[in-house]
Symmetry: C3
Subunit: 280 residues, 3 copies
C-alpha cells in the first residue's frame, strides 16, 4: 500500500493544530506518509477549499486519502463523510460544500457517512470543536493505512444529498465566451476564470491575437481592455497584461511580473464575471 | 524503530534555516521521518513555544523526538538539554523555559545536558549562532534514529534545576472559576484560557446556560458580558460569542465565524485574566 | 537509494500548486521522500532563490535532488536544466541565474538540458505556465527515484553558458574588509553580508573588540557606528547591536532580540555595502 495521506485546513501552521492531527495519524500507523495540501485556506472559506481539492487531487496516485477540514459548522448537524472520486481518491471532510468542484468537474462515485461511534478517538467525547483531530485525521489515517476499507467507514449516502455550492455559469456566444473569476493564483495576483479552454477554442484563437476582455462586478464593468492571448507571461513585456490558459486549462489573466488583481482591484466569486470577445 | 522527528522553531519557513536542519538530520539517518510542529512561533517567545509543545506532544507516538529551537539566549550559558516526558516523548531544547507547560501539566521524568563535545557536528565550532542546526537537530536525529540512547546524551540533570516560566494561577470560588487568557487559537482569534474543564465542572454547567464572563487586564475590566455556554461555535448565531471547552479541555471564548480577540482587543498573558460566574 | 527530493519555489503554500507538484512526484515513485526548502521565496526573485540553495544544499546527503522553480521567464527561451554540484547534489531548475551562488561558492561540475520531449508529463503540452509541475517536479522525481540517471536527462551543456547573476565584490584593505549586504535573516531582521570569515580574519579580530562599521546605499552612508564583535547575540544587551559570524561563516549584523534591518531601514542587494574597519 502507498499509505499516502494529504491534509488541508484553514488552521494555519502557526500553532499546534496541524501537528496534533499528524501525530494522531501516525499513532494509527507510523508508516503513513503525510503531506500538506495547504493549511492557509481562508478561514471558513468552503469555496476555496473545494477549489484547491479540484486543483490537486487528480495529480496524486490512486488511493491517496485527502482530509479536508474547513468546518465552520463543527458541532452542527452537517455530516462527516468520506467521498470516493472517479479517479480513485478518497476525501474525508464535512459535507458542507467542500466536495462541490470535485463532484462537478471530476465526479464523486460514492460517499459514506463516518460512523463516529466506531471511528472517533477514544476519550474525546467531551471535545466538540476539533473533529479534524478526533474524527477526520483519525478516520483518514485508518483508511490510508488499510486498517479499514471504504465500506467500513459507515453507511452509504445518496449522492443526490451531497451538499453543493453554486458554481459559475459558463456561456458561449458567437464571438464571446464568458464565466466567473473563480479564484486567484494568490502569490502572483493572476485571475483564474471558470472558462474552460474547450469553450475558448470555439473562437478559434491564435497565440498573439488580441481579444477584448470585460470584467464586471454584479454586471457593472470594472475593466474593459484589449489583451494579447499569449502562451505564457513571457509573451508580453514586464508589466503588461496577458490572457492565457492556466495549468487547469481555464482562461486566466496576469500582468507579467505584476499583480493583476491588486492593480485593477478585481476580486473573486460568482459576482465577478469575465467575458472574452473576438475583436471585429 | 519509528524514527519520528518533529521540529519547532521561530525561524519561519521563509529562508533556508529549517531546510538546513532537516538536511543535517537526514545526513544522520535518511530513514528518519521528519515533521514540523510550527516554525512560526513568535520570534523569541518562549512561552508560546512551551504552550505549543504542550498542545501537541501527547498526540504523537511514544518515542517521538521533538526538537524545539526558540533560543534568544543562543551563545549564552543556558543549557542544551534533552528532556523525557512521562508519556515517553523526548524534547531537545535549550533549557530556557520551553519545558514549562510539559513539566507542569504532563510531567518531565528525566533531563540530560547535551555533551556538545560529542554531539556537535564536526567543523562547526566557529559558528555560535545556529545551535539548531549544529547541535539540536543533529542530536535529535541521532536519538530518533537509535544511534544513541537517552543515557548517551550527557550528564543527568537535577529536575529541580529545570527553568520554569511563571504559569497562570487558576482559582475556584463558590460561583466563579478564574484563570488567565493563556494563548490564542490564532487563525480564528479565539481566546484559550488556563481554566481546566474540571474546575468549571464544579459549577455544574449545562450546555445552553448563560454565564457572566469578565476579562480584565491587570485587574481593569475590559469585557463584562453574559455568554451562552455551548458545545461548539455552531450553537450560537454567526457573529455571536460563545463560551466553550476547547480541544485541550480548557475554557475558551469565540465569536462564531468572527475574531473575539480583535473585536474586543483582548491580548494574552498572565496580566489578562478571565473569570466565569454562574448567574444568580 | 535515498530518494530525497527537495522543493523550492515562489508559489507559497497558500494554494494547490505545491501539492500538485508533490502529487506528480509521488506518481513517479511513491517511495520518494519529499521535503520543502521554502516556497516563500519573494515572487520572481532569482537572487534569493540562488542564495537559499547555497544556504542549504551542502547540508543534505549526497545524491539529494533539489527542484527550484522561481521562473519569471516560464514559456520563454530560458533553458530547463539539471546541474550537478561538486558535492554530488542535483539541482533541477530553469537556468536563469538560480545557480549563481552554487556555481561561485560551491562548484557546478556538469549541467544538462532537460529533454522536454522525453521528460514532460504526458498530455500537458497545452499548458505553458506550470513547468514546475509538468517538467521540473516530474524530472526531479525520476532522477531521485533512480528511474533515470543524470546522463539520461538530456544533452550536456557547456558550463560557460551557465547564466550567472552578478554577485557582490568583497574587498580587503589594510584595516578594512568590505562587501555587500546580500540577504536578510528574515524573521530576525539581521543583515547577512558577503564578507567571508577568512577575509575578516586578516584583521586578526578578537571577540569583545569594537569595530567601526559603515553601511552605504550606492555609496551614500546610511549607518556609521562602532559595534562590538561578539560570538552571538547574547554577548550584548537586549536591543544592542552586535557584529558576528553567521552560520555560513560570513559577517553579519544584528540587534539582540531586535530587528537591525527595520530599525536602521537597511535593505539588501549589490547597492547596499558594508565595510568593517579596525579602530585606531
Amino acid at each position: 500500500m502507498k499509505k499516502l495521506l494529504v491534509l488541508q485546513s484553514d488552521f494555519g501552521y502557526v500553532d499546534g493544530a496541524v501537528a496534533a492531527m499528524i501525530g494522531v495519524a501516525l499513532g494509527v500507523d507510523d508508516e503513513l506518509k503525510v503531506f500538506d495540501l495547504s493549511h492557509d485556506i481562508t478561514p471558513f472559506n468552503i469555496y476555496e477549499a473545494s477549489y484547491r481539492l479540484f486543483q490537486t487531487v487528480e495529480y496524486w496516485p490512486e488511493g491517496t486519502v485527502f482530509v479536508s477540514i474547513i468546518d465552520p459548522g463543527v458541532g452542527s448537524e452537517r455530516k462527516s463523510v468520506v467521498a470516493l472520486t472517479s479517479g480513485g481518491h478518497y476525501i474525508v471532510t464535512p459535507d458542507n460544500g467542500t466536495l462541490s468542484h470535485l463532484a462537478t468537474h471530476v465526479g464523486i462515485v460514492a460517499m459514506r457517512e463516518i460512523n463516529e461511534v466506531e471511528h472517533r478517538r477514544k476519550n474525546t467525547e467531551a471535545s466538540y470543536t476539533f473533529h479534524g483531530r478526533d474524527v477526520y485525521a483519525f478516520t483518514g489515517a485508518k483508511l490510508a493505512s488499510g486498517q479499514i476499507k471504504f465500506e467500513d467507514v459507515g453507511e452509504a449516502l445518496d449522492l443526490n444529498c451531497l451538499v453543493k455550492l453554486e458554481l459559475p455559469n459558463n456561456e458561449i456566444k458567437e464571438n464571446t465566451v464568458a464565466g466567473s473569476i473563480e479564484i486567484l493564483d494568490i502569490r502572483f495576483g493572476s485571475l483564474w476564470s471558470s472558462i474552460p479552454l474547450i469553450n475558448f477554442q470555439r473562437l478559434d484563437p491564435k497565440h498573439g491575437e488580441v481579444f477584448n476582455i470585460k470584467i464586471a462586478e454584479k454586471g457593472a464593468i470594472k475593466v474593459d481592455m484589449d489583451i494579447k492571448y499569449g502562451r505564457s507571461f513571457a509573451d508580453v513585456n514586464i508589466g503588461e497584461p496577458v490572457l492565457y490558459v492556466n495549468s487547469l486549462y481555464r482562461l486566466a489573466l496576469a500582468l507579467n511580473q505584476g499583480d493583476f488583481s491588486k492593480t485593477f482591484k478585481i476580486e473573486t466569486g460568482l459576482d465577478w464575471t469575465l467575458s472574452v470577445s473576438r475583436k471585429n
